[in-house]
Symmetry: none
Subunit: 240 residues, 2 copies
DNA sequence: GACATCTGTAACATTTCTGTCACTAAAGCT
DNA sequence: AGCTTTAGTGACAGAAATGTTACAGATGTC
């Protein structure tokens, strides 16, 4: 997995069972995050206000104030509403998904889950919810991608492509001039926790090239034996 | 499903029931993996230490030492901690979330599962456990090799060559001024246990020189009776 | 529900790479 | 110079990687 180098974020883990908290904390710290822990909603709330964690992992089942209730409360307060929440639900509680969504959770993880999955989804949520800065439009040679309006234009003309192609292009444009393997692209664009054949990447590359049109499709270059690369340096006899 | 040729990875299957092991082994071998089998923790441990498998498929339920216990043991030992583990759990055992997390499994598969799913998830785990480091470009006399973009440029102009030539050049550039035998090159560039005629190296040297062009091909020097060498110092005997 | 869109996979087509061989050229040796 | 050994070269068939197309299921919309 290709790691992002960013100032370590802090994650608040809210669960009434200490062993679970510890396991999760260990996994997150291994992945380079700082962790905070709380066993109940009261403590959790103090910590949220006090430490402003970057994300909250919230167990659905908790004595007294339930996870849902706590989430709802956080989302109501403008001060804390922006903090993304990932709900931890156990098998069989999946039906409560709707309630959870209403409460304002940003993602769900169903127990049991692997540490990798946890970290992967956590990253995804963090990436998505990063407020400003990262969402700046990227423009290269007249090809402009705007993450906010979700639009791609070539010299002003709008190009249309599917969501996956959009994310793929977005990733490429923000990581130009570097070759990525299909596996890395799956991790970065699809999200680490999917089980998809690597050849699927090829198909989406094809769709992306098609969507870019003749003028820009050459920016997506094949690196034979490795993967693909987004590069403004066009070479006819391109190869590895 | 046609699979990659990569130096086939070895997977250790640990399950006390022989039929299950065989089914799994067959599926994995079909997908191009080498398989090792063990019916209990003791055997499994010997194999792990001895053969260093790339991944372990571990049944949750096992007589004597349970899968969880075994996993925990492996993760405790620095020597084996890096080997990813996929747990096989049966229906109804799903609740053992905490134990499994603590044990350090990298993924879960719930029986019954399709061979297809197994292979897919296995690939995903393997993919993630083999990170791609960020390497520094190497530059010598205007010849630059950049592992990140996977490019070779001569004074800015891109040179094109095949994957093997790329690796060969990469090896040479990071081990300049030293002669290597064909055997050593096969080991280093082709990777350990390949059975390839040594003269094949000559052919790739030829291709590499061709790819480098007139200006740089003299950097690849023949050491008669021994092998080849990458050197910036042009030998006198060549000046005739 | 009919319709459109998107996704992942499989199957087939095409391109590129690989390892060998046969042969030539050069170097070493007596 | 002859003879022997070693390296350079071009051609080629099979293997491998990538490109392309078609399709079935999933999802969302009206």
């Amino acid at each position: 997995m290709v790691e992002e180098t960013m100032s370590s974020r802090s994650i608040l883990i809210v669960d009434d069972e200490a062993p679970i908290r510890e396991v999760i904390a260990a996994a997150l710290e291994m992945a380079g995050y700082r962790t905070l822990e709380a066993s109940n909603a009261q403590d959790a709330h103090s910590i949220v206000v006090d430490q402003k964690p970057d994300l909250i992992l919230l167990d659905w089942m908790m004595p007294q104030v339930s996870g849902v209730e706590f989430a709802r409360r956080l989302k109501r307060d403008p001060l804390t509403a922006e903090i993304p929440i990932i709900m931890l639900t156990a098998k069989g509680e999946e039906d409560h998904k709707i309630t959870g969504l209403e409460a304002g959770a940003d993602d769900y993880i169903t127990k049991p889950f692997s540490p990798r999955e946890l970290v992967a989804r956590l990253k995804a949520v963090l990436r998505r919810s990063t407020p400003a800065g990262i969402d700046e439009p990227i423009e290269i040679n007249g090809l402009k991608l705007d993450p906010n309006s979700h639009r791609i234009t070539a010299h002003g003309d709008e190009l249309s492509m599917g969501p996956t192609e959009f994310r793929l292009l977005q990733f490429f444009m923000s990581h130009a001039e570097r070759a990525y393997t299909r596996g890395q692209l799956l991790d970065q664009v699809w999200g680490g926790n999917v089980y998809v054949d690597e050849r699927t990447v090829d198909v989406h590359i094809r769709r992306l090239r098609k969507g870019l049109g003749d003028e820009f499709k050459s920016l997506i270059q094949t690196v034979r034996g490795t993967g693909y690369r987004f590069s403004t340096k066009v070479t006819e006899t391109d190869n590895s």
